[in-house]
């Protein structure tokens, strides 16, 4: 377990010297800030009439998730692919480190980076709380944060797994992006068209519905938590297998 922590720490530090991390942070935080400001402004304009709905945090989380689908591949593409290209994977694979610890450490490092961004976004619910009386729904804020963390962890785990399969970062990026677009936007569509158990399956696979049906409404359901946990496990497992396969060829 300590190895996971050591690798995660190095990976986290590495984000703060790489331009990609700053670009991602800049784009995400700027977009969220603009969306937040527009929402707040709109609310202030209308609130004097006394008929406007109270502003909530859901647009912020929605935007964050949308940006996460597009930016996570950039955050995970180099995690293992670049180690393979630079030859440093040979160093890690001949150090007393288990393959799983390497993959999990890489994932955790990326997770810490996204959590850092999430901490910055705490400012929005805090500001919003000042404007609304008697305060915003704390429960929705908390379940939404939990949901976003689980979605981010799933994306990062799948991205890490894919990065382990490639030596080329660009190939890793586009494969990851394609998978996310599929799981986030496309896989839910057939559920609206067909009926029966097939529709159920597609609905179950849809990553969005597990967040928007429960977490974003302040509901916690075990099945949704399990869904994301199993995606995390799948990502880390396939990453470990991919690293092991590198040894055999």
């Amino acid at each position: 377990m300590r190895n996971i922590w050591i690798i995660a720490k190095r990976e986290y530090d590495h984000y703060f010297i790489s331009p990609i991390a700053y670009v991602v942070a800049f784009v995400i935080l700027l977009t969220l800030g603009i969306i937040f400001a527009i929402n707040l402004f709109y609310y202030m304009q209308n609130s004097f009439g006394g008929f406007s709905a109270a502003p909530d945090v859901s647009p912020i989380f929605g935007a964050f998730l949308f940006l996460l689908v597009l930016s996570t591949p950039a955050l995970t593409m180099r995690l293992i692919a670049d180690e393979a290209r630079m030859g440093t994977l040979e160093l890690l694979l001949t150090a007393p480190v288990r393959d799983f610890e390497l993959v999990a450490g890489k994932w955790l490092g990326a997770m810490f980076y996204v959590l850092t961004l999430l901490v910055v976004t705490l400012i929005y619910p805090i500001i919003l709380n000042q404007f609304v009386s008697p305060g915003i729904d704390q429960r929705v804020v908390m379940t939404s944060y939990l949901g976003v963390i689980l979605v981010a962890a799933s994306f990062l785990a799948l991205g890490t797994g894919i990065s382990a399969m490639f030596t080329n970062q660009i190939a890793s990026f586009f494969t990851t992006l394609a998978l996310f677009v599929f799981l986030w936007w496309l896989v839910g569509f057939p559920a609206n068209v067909i009926t029966g158990s097939g529709a159920e399956l597609f609905r179950y696979l849809d990553m969005q519905s597990h967040y928007y049906d429960t977490f974003s409404r302040g509901i916690l359901e075990l099945k949704d938590i399990l869904y994301y946990l199993s995606l995390i496990a799948l990502g880390l497992f396939s990453g470990t297998v991919a690293v092991e396969m590198r040894r055999w060829r």
Binding site: R2, N3, I6, I7, R10, H14, I17, S18, M86, G87, T88, L89, E90, L91, L92, L93, T94, A95, P96, V97, R98, R247, W248, R249
Partner: protein
Amino acid sequence: MIQVEGLTKDYGTRRALHSISFDANQGEIVGFLGPNGAGKTTTMRILTGYMPPTEGTAIVAGYDVLEESLEVRKRVGYLPETVPLYNDMTALDYLKFMADLRRLPNPKERAYETLEMVNLSDRANSYIGTFSKGMRQRVGLAQALLHRPEVLILDEPTIGLDPTQVVEIRSLIREIGKDRTVLFSTHILSEAQQICDRVLIINKGQIVAEDTPENLQSRVLGAERVILRVRGDADGLADTVKKVKGTRNVTAKSDESIEFEFSAGQDVRPQVAKAVVQAGYELLEMRTLGLSLEEIFLELTQNNTSNKGHGGKS
């Protein structure tokens, strides 16, 4: 320390190693010689636990590389051919990271001490990305030495270095090899001759010879070749030498020098010297031309397929 038995490695349908076997003991520096693609790196990668063998066993520092890979990796220091460095880290941070992964006590002090060993302590806080090739090689070596391993495996440690650096690294390897097992690969034969206690010559995935550099030389040689130089004209000198019993293949080399051979163990140099002086020549020089490892190497690797007569354990 290292015991290899029938090690075989297939890449797909291509067989890179054909059942090789060898040992290396503590305090021994073993040179692994062979042309590119002979199987040196493959063997080293198996011994360091990077990849599993297709067949055969390898015991390193008392543990099986396949069954107890983590134990082997704890006890082996490895410098791969492409030095694995993070350009975005300082030399000290890099070694500290590796020391952490290896669970060494006082990682920072250990990292610094190891940098001192490779003469880089003055650049401890510089980024590895700014380092010259020789410095990078030394950081890589420091990484391999960090945990003071029982077995050190170095894949072409002197490649791409300038002559001064080569000398430095070689003396460092000799120093380290006093109480550890060192296996290092090279295709520079004189290097093996200088550093190694024993040389393994590998070609096309097979060990074609295994011996001390000196024994290899005399085994391949069979005869010693001598160059003889006199002042002034060497006309008729060849005939004079030919008359001495035991000389062979006498050939004129230039106006003032000739070469001849004699069978190993039948040194005829005193008789030749006497005959030459008696014939009125002024003898300036007479020395044996040792067969270099280069020649031994070519002899062994080229005759490998048709004639295994020179081979030790092949």
